[in-house]
């Protein structure tokens, strides 16, 4: 029957901890507690002094940690944070580097390549995020 359909079928699912539950004994209403987050382990001393080039390896090794712990470990190491030009820029914004007049193709090559700017000549190879 149509009136027996679940009214939440197309609705947005809410996280469990934001839902309320009613006690079967006394009838009181209480909100489910937030899940307890796993405590971050302290980084070892040897990791702190490792150079920037090893950053990726280090992040891979903490892959099993919860997301907030990875950030913690990342900051503890002072790794690429100081070398990232976008560090401390607002999140969720797109940044496009300012183009300069350089590396201009000959008009013949530019016409063939589809751009007169060598820097913008990025043929699509179907995988990855860079020009290989």
């Amino acid at each position: 029957m149509a009136n027996c359909q679940n009214p939440m079928r197309y609705g947005r699912q809410t996280p469990m901890y934001t839902q309320r539950s009613t006690c079967n004994t006394c009838g009181s209403v209480r909100q489910n507690p937030r899940p307890v987050q796993q405590e971050c382990p302290r980084p070892q001393e040897s990791q702190v002094t490792r150079p920037f080039s090893d950053c990726r390896e280090r992040i891979d090794r903490v892959e099993h940690l919860p997301e907030n712990c990875k950030v913690h470990v990342h900051k503890e190491h002072h790794c690429h944070c100081s070398k990232d030009p976008l560090w401390e820029m607002p999140l969720a914004m797109a940044y496009v580097p300012w183009q300069r007049w350089q590396e201009i193709y000959d008009v013949c090559d530019g016409f063939q390549r589809g751009t007169i700017f060598r820097e913008l000549d990025k043929p699509f190879h179907g995988k990855g995020g860079c020009n290989r």
């Binding site: 530019g110 007169i116 700017f117």
Partner: protein
Amino acid sequence: MSECPCRKELLNQINEASFAVDDVKLYLNTHPWDDEALVYFQEYSRIRNEALKEYAKHYGPLTIDTASLSCEEQWDWIDAPWPWQEGGC
């Protein structure tokens, strides 16, 4: 009378210069005070215009701006092959 230039070469020159002008035009939209880009634009804009005039004199106009160069005695705008016809673009 001057020697007739190769039609294919002229068309190629027009295509290349037109593309360069179009591309530097996009760059200049965001960099209006870039002197090198302005010089580049002026140079290839001139090359393009001269090539278009040369083409119009010998093979008929490609753009309406050059129609007067080949249509002095009679209107031949529609005489040249269309781009989808053999001998067109």
